[in-house]
Amino acid sequence: MPMRNSTRLGRRRTGPLPKASFPGIGLSDDEIRLITERLGREPTLVEAHAFDAQWSEHCSYKSSRAHLARLPTDGPDVILGPGQDAGIVRLGEWKGETYGIVIAHESHNHPSQVVPFEGAATGIGGIVRDVLCMGARVIALADPLRFGPLDDPHSRYVAQGVVDGIAAYGNAIGVPTIAGDVYFHDGFRDNCLVNVVALGIVKESEIIHSCAPAGSDGWDIVLIGKATDRSGFGGAAFSSLVLDEKDAEANKSAVQVPDPFLKNVIMRASYRAFDVIRELGLTVGFKDLGAGGIMGCTAELAASGGFGARIALDRCLTSQPDLPAAVIAVGETQERLAWVVPPSFTPRLLQIYNEEFSLPQIARHAQAAVIGTITAEKEYVLTHHGAEVMHVPIDFLTAGVRYDRDYKRRRPRYRIDEDLIIDEVLIADDEPERAADKFSWRRQAEVLTRLTFDRDLALKVLSHPDVASRRTIYERFDSVVRGATSIPSGYADAGVVVPIPGSPFAVAIGLGGNPRYSRLDACYAAEQAVCEALRNVVAVGARPAALTDCLNFGNPEDARQMGDFVAAVDGLRFAASQFGLPFVSGNVSFYNQSASGESIPGSPIVACVGVIDDVSHTVTPAFHRSGNKLYYIAGLSSNALGGSVFADVFGLENGPLQPIAYGDVRREPNFVRSGITAGAILSCHDVSDGGVFATVAEMAFATRNGLRIGAELSSFDLEGVSDKVLITEYFNEGGGFVIEASDVFDEWSAQLEHYRGAWELGTTTQAYELTVRRGERPSLRWTVDELYEAWSDPLRTFYEGVPA
């Protein structure tokens, strides 16, 4: 987002309101007064809609900007930080060219709740355009999804529609979906979350910016894609409202209509245009039409280059005659992008889209057409039937307003503890001493006292909806189209593609964001999201290179929701700076709240992009051989179970949170990666939902189709070991990795022996069983097949029970 000088709205403005009324417009009285004051007249209807879109939370980040400025965005590998449609981080040099990975992260929560299939599909459509318009080939998608529980019929309907919508769009355009995560939680009954991440590959020398280039005064603005229609009118403003069941029907018209078929062709035509532009050595501007439609896109293209623009709305092809000027100007019809090109190149550009790729034959009235010009005068002007319907100072329009929202932070359940950042280790026994945590530890002790560690307890954790196999969902997505996938969805903690044919460079994408933590502490949830996303890419052997974030929260006008948001930004900033990682792109989605005031668990969702210099140094969780040692790579943990799957299964509410020992957490990635590169780590899996037990079980499942290898876990095989200790050790979600080490002694194995955070966990076995030894008591034993059943069963029925 462009961050120019915006007006801060704090003190209530006085003065008369305009006489004209603007039904359906979400601008506040103060905002309308400000516009009237600045224009020296009342805004026209088109202007009112334009400001409504451009100054919406969705477009202007008016509540969040001040806080987002605290996130680290710079680093030696950053080619392009936040500010344009997508960020770019360096991949490496190949055949004399520097390649960058383009990353964009968006949400499509509101539309997906109202019209799940179309809402989710257009979410994919939008994010793909964000990457495409940087001049990049789109190479991968990842989808973090949050739904209400599946036993709620409406939540199930939403979840099914969202999954099918993503599949229908992503599969058709031919971009593989290589990663994703799904959580089910009560807090998403009224507001699902559909976040989407897209990756692209571009040569640094061929990046196209989403702004009018220097000296582009008088250049053409070319609109390409679908004919403008009534769909998606008021979309940006709608995304900035609290959803109310009563308005469900009305809101549906704010959702756009996806056309992946047309997009497939637009992408290929644009790739062709990139080639021609490179051959001709041109510098041009290219931007996606998203929120605010033609107005939003062209105003930002022009303003970010320091120009104005003049657009003739009559030249925009529409699906039906007599579409009102306001609808043409700000309607969010899908599958459109806009170019800024020198007039000498315009005929060639039109020829590519209209003739070579025959857009007008692909979809009714689709085409490329010149709709306006870039002007030196910094005014934004729209004409319709020869008359000016909008004429405003462009910077006033695009800079938006800014709010310093009141916020009230909850009493932190968890505080960033500077002590832990140095290599201090916190011992479990100290934890109950911290007064603030006393109650939570007592609760954990009470729950544990009631339980015995038996076979059934483990099966319950494995069949929790947040642990269970996601196969029914990820098999809907094509994860191998383009033929460049090295690790598809469901094979490992992160997806991996090989984006440059012939080169060993690979790109990994991992996600993080656990709503169970969000309910307890927003700052902690954000920190864990960063750690988890990062661990996911490290687990396949990648070097974390950059982060993106999507901050999904409730109503920012509610001080408590805003407090959670601020706390989450703090957590992101702190964790990212610990790893020295930049946020190169991001998104904020507020108002994820139902009319009854029920807000979602504030959800900071993080994606981490990892770079792999040589794809032959990648691993997955699949066990390799029997008789190998298993290690748990992690800092000393306090065995706190708060926010874990275990806590959810056994009714531990408000349990204690595991402190993040950054000293260890920061060391682990390099240690694990060096083991993978040395060939000493044969398989590796990040420890998250379901703890070490679920992690080891999943490593055994991964070998299912070939070898059959089990494991015997003996690390807590101590005399007198209690169930309480065993449960906390096997089911806490304190992070870290489980690795299968090669039995070949080498330099790295020697390091492993002395590494302070490496705990011998057990061995892989020929028996296709999972065994937990526990001192003098008989071992607990499961066949891997029965564990697999428990794990794969819950979501197998994802498509059953579709309400009529």
Partner: protein, 261 residues
């Protein structure tokens, strides 16, 4: 001079890039040829590969509209002249809709179709293996594969379940049109290995003349060692050249290239 292969791109096709890459990896001169290409130019190619995707949005039925595309004129003529035609996934659906496969008794009416996957009736993307179920020389494209060759690939489709009248299915089997069947990694044909409920466990069909092959799974998406998740990946550990080498699904393209030599 190497043979020239046209990889045909209809509006909605999405796998042309990897298909061209697989052809080139085996020494073929391959180009993506778009729907607006000059028909006489298209006629000059030696062989046609119809790649995966959702041509014409799979309106009506998968492949039904593309079967009537202009480009198909060149494919029909070529097939009649004995040129090799390989359809993969959506390309296979197009060939069935065009009556070019299975073409029992040389008849070019629509005899069989790929229906919605069972049991979900939805798109599914999963790794599979297919086994050559005809003598290799029965089909020119498979002639250079070993008997009973097992090829890995990805089933990534919503409509891949072979469906036809019982007598047609019987003839497909009896008259040697069942080119590939789904199997497990060791070549066993099991019910679990069939990803979509396909009749006869069919993964691929060949026409009567043996020059047109329609195969549902994508060998080109499992055509490089880095695509694999079997022992070959393990053996390539730490060896970038081995990891980037063509292997696995590339076998079908190698056989195609040998046939075109």
């Amino acid at each position: 001079m190497s043979a020239r292969v046209a990889v045909l791109v209809f509006p909605g096709t999405n796998s042309e890039e990897e298909t061209v890459r697989a052809c080139r990896a085996v020494g073929l001169e391959a180009d993506a040829v778009h729907w607006n290409a000059d028909l006489d130019e298209v006629r000059r190619f030696d062989a046609y590969v119809l790649p995966g995707g959702f041509a014409y949005e799979d309106r009506v039925r998968a492949g039904a509209i593309a079967a009537h595309d202009r480009l198909m004129t060149a494919v029909r003529e070529g097939a009649a002249e004995g040129k090799l035609v390989l359809g993969i996934c959506n390309g296979a659906q197009v060939l069935l809709e065009a009556g070019l496969a299975p073409a029992l008794g040389g008849d070019s009416s629509i005899q069989a179709g790929f229906a919605k996957n069972a049991p979900l009736g939805k798109f599914r993307s999963t790794h599979v293996h297919v086994k050559l179920a005809i003598p290799p020389e029965r089909c020119a494209i498979t002639a250079h594969l070993a008997p009973n060759a097992v090829i890995p690939g990805w089933a990534s489709h919503g409509e891949g379940r072979l469906a036809a009248h019982d007598d047609v299915l019987a003839r497909i089997e009896r008259e040697g049109h069942l080119a590939f069947v789904y199997c497990d990694a060791s070549g066993e044909t099991t019910t679990e290995a069939i990803p979509n409920g396909s009749a006869l466990g069919a993964a691929g069909l060949v026409n009567a003349a043996g020059n047109v092959l329609a195969i549902m799974p994508h060998p080109e998406r499992d055509a490089w060692t880095f695509n694999h998740h079997d022992d070959s990946r393990e053996r390539a550990r730490g060896n970038a050249n081995a990891m980037l080498a063509p292997s696995g699904g590339i076998a079908l393209f190698e056989s195609l290239a040998k046939a075109l030599r």
